[in-house]
């Protein structure tokens, strides 16, 4: 009886031992795998080349502001801009904006026939500009620092207003505050200069726009 109990006990122990051994054998390669996976990323270095670096030279965004249309009224303007940064100093920019002119003071005071139809009051423009950055930093607090740039632009384009497309020269200045590497807030001021004969004699008009914008670098 005793022998039987003993052999059963022994059998159980042996079985248990065998199992543990097997389990250990199974565990070992896993452990090895784990150590390997910890080391691996250090061994597999990626070499640098043009294609595996994320380059962020394009900047795209929207802006909104007020456009003061000469002889007409000041009206809200919205638009989009796309810029390509050529170097740390220069960029090229394309922008498109849309507004709608109100009435001239003459139209309001005389109460007579309007100069322009509703369709002709739509003001849309595009321009291609070259910009120059003055890079800088803003210290909001001792430890909160943002990169920024003051920039100047000069460009040419076209303005569709009063039923015609007019060749337009645009000069501008702006301020870009980079909240992160790829997200920026803008404050901008632009003067759109074109010749117009809408209210009679041909003259050079200055249409000043200012506004806020937000852009992403990609």
């Amino acid at each position: 009886m005793e022998t039987r109990i003993r052999s059963v006990f022994l059998g159980t122990v042996l079985f248990a031992l065998a199992n543990t051994g097997y389990a250990q054998q199974q565990d070992e390669p896993q452990a090895q795998n784990q150590t390997q996976s910890v080391i691996e990323p250090e061994l597999q270095r990626r070499d640098i080349n043009e294609s595996n670096i994320d380059s962020e030279n394009f900047e795209i965004g929207l802006f909104a502001g007020i456009l003061s249309i000469e002889d007409f009224s000041s009206d809200p303007v919205i638009g989009a801009r796309l810029a390509y940064h050529v170097s740390e100093d220069f960029f090229v920019e394309a922008s498109y904006g849309k507004s709608e002119a109100g009435r001239t003071s003459f139209e309001i005071l005389s109460g007579g026939a309007p100069f322009l139809t509703d369709e002709e009051r739509d003001y849309t423009y595009y321009n291609l500009s070259l910009g120059y950055n003055l890079n800088g930093e803003v210290f909001l607090t001792r430890n909160l620092v943002f990169n920024s740039a003051t920039y100047f632009t000069l460009g040419a384009g076209s303005t569709d207003f009063g039923g015609d497309d007019r060749f337009t020269v645009t000069i501008g200045a702006g301020y870009r505050l980079l909240l992160t590497d790829y997200f920026a807030l803008h404050i901008g001021l632009k003067d759109h200069i074109f010749n117009s004969e809408i209210i009679g004699e041909e003259k050079t008009t200055h249409n000043i726009e200012y506004g806020l914008g937000a852009t992403f670098f990609f």
Binding site: P41, Q44, R45, R46, D47, I48, N49, E50, N52, I53, D54, S55, E56, N57, Y84, H85, V86, S87, E88, D89, V92, A94, E120, L128, N133, N135, G136, E137, V145, N147, A156, G157, S158, G162, G163, D164, D165, R166, F167, D181, E197, F217
Partner: protein, 253 residues
Amino acid sequence: MEVMAKWMVLIGLIACVSTTVKTVNAEEVLPEVQIVEPYIEMHTGPAVGYPVFYVAEKDEWISVLKRRTSWFKVRTRKGQEGWVKQDALKLTLSSEGQPVEIADGSFESYQERTFEFGASGGSLEGVPSLSVFASWVITENIATELSYSQALGDFSENRFALLSVTHTTFPEWRFSPYFRLGLGQLQTKPRANLVQSGEETRTSDLLAGSIGLRYYLAQNFVVRLEYQNLLALTERDENEELEEWKLGFAVFF
């Protein structure tokens, strides 16, 4: 019930997308370079005026995060992040002990370009004209180009689109002449005050021949100067011949 099902699908989709994003992130190994010079200067921003706030030492490995113009954002093993100039990065070594090469800005890469995008400004019969263009380089000599121009005069506005073929005779020259032949359409719209006197918008077919000079500037930029002769096949007795001079700027990829 249906609304709930839609929400479930939406949440599922978001979950899928976010897991994919995570997997992509997990798989992404940043390229690393080793400093061989005594030190490398890290600036607070991607321009030469930004102050140097940290110096990474010789033999240190730095990972390269991103690039803006000719500046690279790097991170050291200790987690310091800053911007390094391209010239400084060229002095580092890759994992195989080779000097780091970033192959942009070479005339060779210009000769191997596939696409070119740009804009130009000039004068069409004395009135200002603006154009945008995109070209696809087929062989080193031949490229096709699509362009759209607008010329704004005192009496009319001309808009034209052209599809053309360019032949660059000496592609191995940095200053290189080229010839172009194109077909397109021209739309002439009289100024609003002339519409009242009976003028109408006309559309006519257009033939174009150009001769130009292109110059590889630096990095991936090209400048070109061009003379274009346009022949508008009008419905009137005489065809209209237009001359255009323009100076343009292009980026190639």
